[in-house]
């Protein structure tokens, strides 16, 4: 048993260097493999979650993300939805955009939002009963993202 332990220990120690070499030499490959194999992604609390609806308007487009109520288990009572306002390639957003946004077809989450793109401020108009207010306006790689605080209707 002692001999076996000794052999196994030495073998495990011997693998340390090759392990690091394999890691370094394949460094462009392993992260992709890890992410693909585990299906890991950045939390929607940071990314805003997946885009579930897209509407093209004259001079800009709207991308509506899914509402984020994600908890460790189940859902939270409070969350948000992110609405992106995207200018055309190489262009810019109009000075003011005003939109009615349907969130998951739920009237309690219907949002009427007005965005002043120059000052990066947003205000809500008549919205659903579970819409709490504008949480923030953020600059995106292209355009602006408006996060609207919601109460979970579920």
């Amino acid at each position: 048993m002692a001999k076996l332990k000794s052999v196994l220990g030495t073998m495990w120690a011997l693998t340390a260097l090759p392990l690091l070499l394999v890691m370094f030499f394949g460094f462009t490959h392993w992260p992709k493999l890890l992410v693909a194999a585990t299906g890991l992604e950045v939390s929607p609390w940071f990314t805003g979650g997946k885009v579930v609806a897209s509407v093209d308007r004259e001079g800009y487009a709207i991308r509506v993300h899914r509402p984020v109520f994600d908890a460790l288990v189940g859902q939270r009572a409070k969350g948000f939805v992110q609405i992106d306002f995207v200018p055309p390639e190489g262009g810019s957003l109009p000075a003011v955009v005003e939109e009615s946004v349907d969130v998951g077809g739920n009237p309690a989450l219907a949002i009427r939002v007005r965005v002043d793109t120059a000052t990066r401020t947003a205000t809500l108009g008549a919205s659903g009963t579970h819409v709490d207010g504008v949480e923030g306006v953020y600059g995106l790689a292209r355009g602006l993202g408006v996060r609207v605080a919601l109460r979970n209707p579920a």
């Binding site: 460790l72 288990v73 189940g74 859902q75």
Partner: protein, 219 residues
């Protein structure tokens, strides 16, 4: 009153969602006591677990009644709610920090009535887990405060009790394994760590308390 089915479902979900918070709060407090009984048999550990859960259930139901009463009175106002919750957090924070970081502290200050526990340990040692369950069941932690405010809005005594019973089931998933940690090889290290963790959690509670108090001022 909200439907009982909905309250039961919500109670379990709130319990499951917030149970890690219960673990953070009650774990550091429970562990040093539970691990004090070194050499406990597995059967005795399971029995201790049963007692602990029963004690917690009784504590939860008592809070359920209080939440119903509070829902009709002080918790009806958002400002009072924030101030009460903030003050409660700060109180618990002070106790937990003192308990966690003071080398002189002998008892468990984070639960109300550390002296009671000492007496229970002396007179009825076998009932200690039940007493611990009851007293931590009466403790305020973030998920528990959420549960209280939700139960206060339930609209009736039966609803409040139903919600807390379900909340108990949800949180038990996290707390149930604690007495089984008595089988660990190094209980002293776990005890010391758990106690320090109570102090760290206390600092977090102080933050939550301040946030609530400031929120109450701005409400």
């Amino acid at each position: 009153m909200l439907p009982i089915g909905q309250l039961l479902g919500e109670g379990v979900v709130v319990g499951l969602a917030g149970g890690t918070g219960c673990l953070a709060t009650c774990g550091p407090v429970l562990l040093p006591y539970l691990l004090a009984e070194e050499g406990r048999s597995r059967w005795a550990s399971v029995l201790a677990l049963g007692q602990l859960l029963l004690g917690r259930l009784v504590g939860y139901l008592a809070i359920g009644i209080l939440a119903w009463l509070a829902g009709m009175t002080v918790l009806a106002s958002p400002r009072w709610r924030a101030w009460l919750v903030g003050t409660a957090y700060l109180g618990v924070a002070i106790l937990m920090v003192a308990y966690g970081f003071s080398p002189a502290a002998k008892g468990c200050a984070a639960t109300p009535g550390a002296g009671i526990l000492a007496r229970v340990r002396t007179r009825w040692p076998k009932l200690l887990p039940a007493a611990l369950g009851l007293l931590t069941g009466l403790n305020l932690c973030p998920p528990f405060v959420v549960a209280i405010t939700r139960a206060a809005d339930a609209g009736g005594l039966a609803g409040s009790l139903a919600f807390f019973s379900a909340f108990f089931v949800g949180t038990s998933v996290y707390l149930a394994p604690l007495p089984l940690l008595g089988w660990l090889r190094r209980p002293e290290a776990v005890r010391t760590t758990a106690r320090l963790a109570a102090g760290v959690v206390g600092v977090y509670f102080a933050y939550l308390g301040l946030v609530n108090l400031i929120g109450g001022l701005l409400a």
